[in-house]
Amino acid sequence: MTEKRIPHTDLDGLLGRLRERGAVYAPARDDAGDVALTQAPLDDPMVLEYRNFRLSPKAFFLPQSQTLLTFCDGEAHEPSLPDGETFLVGVRPCDAKALLALDKVFLDGDPPDPYYARLRETTTVIALACTRPMSSCFCTSVGGGPGDGAGADVLAVGLEADLLLRAQTPKGEELLSSVADLLADATDDAVKEAEKRVGAAESLIAPVEVDNSAQRLRDGYDSPCWETASQTCLGCGTCSFLCPTCHCFDITDELRGTRGRRVRTWDCCAYPLFTLHGSGHNPRPSPKERWRQRIMHKFRYAVENLDRLFCVGCGRCIRNCPASMDLRTVLRELGA
């Protein structure tokens, strides 16, 4: 595992080199003052001080709308898969980890999803460890942490004057060696400083009890808490659409005369339409069943079937729910 170091002042040089290879998305402030992954102009220095982005980076791998097929007069055409390289710089560890969950769904299946696979192949993720977690963060309870590099190709840790860069995958190794001339070796001091910073961040995160969640949720399937909890749910898709691991989609054919396209779009289990049968029957008829599904999927079914929690503790759903629901509350109540 290669460990390197780059002074903050040389970061723009590094981004410049990446730009020679492909599209680079780095944190930059938008008009509203929020920091977002942006294909920033060269003269803007990369922003290093931010909590996390409003949108998770999942759209880079599972675009919100994706044309799978176009057809015209009885003939179908598959659009060619993208082949340019993309670099995502500054992704938070929770969001990087979410890619491992998405991989389970889209790569481990038979056959794997070619669209996702290609985007995953052509995209390099450089994660940036968190130093200032938010009160909605609980990554440490769901198998991650502010300095966890799983899912990323390179993990960066911000130090006083440098970034410590640690390759996590062969793709990451290759990347670091391709820009070796910009990098210095990581010193012991740097490694220690990084450890200290990550440790300090970790200590700020309040734990949530999710051990053995699958079993507890199995037992709590008929608990009255679902009814109470879902009373406030408005049935919007904010939580799923912002969630880095929610991946349910819908496929529709859009037709005009004899031409059209087949398009895949994000979908969400909070919508009644999500499970509505052609017959008119709906197996999840009320917010209770729909909301339960969201929790069950993440903390039970995914564990049972894919051996992994489908929550990385980024807290987006908690911060952005229009009714201020908090899934931690229900997890606590069920003791899940």
């Binding site: 409003r54 779009t265 908690i318």
Partner: protein, 338 residues
């Protein structure tokens, strides 16, 4: 302005009394949420739990949104036989929320006699996003209100910050023309005046004065952020249709993609369906996680209905909604004459 803690105490008394005397089955109010600057709706059924009721500058949710589902008509005759009797519901409402509740009565979605409208004279609620933005990279650990109504925040490093209320109040609250609920059964708090009741007109006039193409460009720019999550629709108390046109699949009127044509039509349809029905509560704009100005179009339509038909929704339970009514002499200068 009545201090929040006094209002909170009155609300608890009211709820305790209504529930204890079994005059209502359910008391709908607010409870502190897990994060600062937020509250979450509280469905209270037992008088023992009234201490959970909260009133603070963060009671943003328009609770009228929960009413239609409590009075949903049974889907079939079979279901109707088994259906429990309709509940009696007390609900805490700010000025705009009270208009929504009355508008729902007007549209026969909820029976007036089953409601106890607990109105609160509203000093304007905090917009979470404005508040969080005002703190910059700091994060609030707790937030409350000081004697002047300004927002007192403790941030993560233990420092205390005071945010002037009018700087972080929601846009809809700044424009509000009737912060004191009309027609409540119980009114809590001293009546409050609107802050900038002409603000809404000013904004539409300003937007209308742009050229056609500039207006289009602005709208496209704004809507390009939309992720089609439906939160704007779901948070709206007036969006109660059993099957929304935007969800219909046979035929599918509006595509599901983020193609700008689909997104624009989504928003035109949503806005148009609010004409003469929107009660200007701003729930849609607050719900939008992408910060889209969802009220740009609804605001204009509300004014248009007022100008053309002299009607504002939710002002009286007995009036027919403007789009269900007509007058032989309605303006028709928009028609094409050869």
């Amino acid at each position: 302005m009545t201090p929040s803690h006094e209002i909170e105490a009155r609300l608890r008394e009211t709820a305790e009394e209504l529930l204890r005397e079994k005059r209502v089955d359910l008391f709908l109010g607010y409870e502190k949420a897990t994060l600062p600057f937020r509250t979450t709706p509280l469905f209270l059924t037992s008088p023992e739990e009234v201490e959970r009721l909260a009133w603070n500058p963060f009671c943003t949710t328009n609770l009228a949104v929960y009413l239609p589902r409590l009075f949903k008509a049974p889907a079939s005759a079979r279901e109707a036989e088994r259906a429990p009797p309709l509940p009696t519901v007390a609900v805490v409402l700010k000025g705009c929320d009270a208009r929504s509740a009355i508008a729902l009565v007007q549209e026969r979605q909820v029976p007036r006699e089953k409601l106890v409208l607990v109105g609160v004279a509203c000093p304007g609620m905090v917009d979470v996003r404005k508040a969080e933005r005002a703190l910059g990279e700091h994060e609030a650990l707790g937030a409350g209100e000081d004697a002047l109504g300004n927002i007192h925040v403790v941030v993560e490093d233990g420092r205390e910050v005071t945010l002037p209320r009018e700087e972080i109040v929601a846009d809809a609250c700044l424009e509000c023309r009737a912060p004191t609920p009309s027609l409540p059964d119980v009114l809590v708090g001293e009546p409050v005046e609107g802050k900038d009741p002409d603000g809404a007109r000013r904004q539409t006039d300003e937007f209308a004065s742009k050229t056609l193409d500039d207006r289009w460009a602005h709208l496209q720019d704004e809507l390009s952020k939309c992720i089609r999550c439906n939160a704007c629709r779901q948070a709206c108390p007036m969006c109660y249709c059993k099957e929304c046109l935007l969800d219909q699949t046979r035929p599918r009127w509006v595509g599901t993609s983020t193609d700008m044509s689909d997104v624009t039509i989504y928003h035109l349809v949503r806005a148009f369906h609010m004409a003469g029905r929107c009660t200007e509560c701003g729930a849609c704009a607050r719900a939008c996680s992408m910060g889209i100005d969802t009220r740009l179009l609804t605001r204009k339509l509300g004014q248009e209905v007022e100008d053309l038909y002299g009607y504002r929704s939710g002002e009286s339970a007995d009036v027919l909604p403007a789009l269900s009514a007509f007058d032989m002499d309605d303006a028709q200068d928009f028609l094409t004459e050869p």
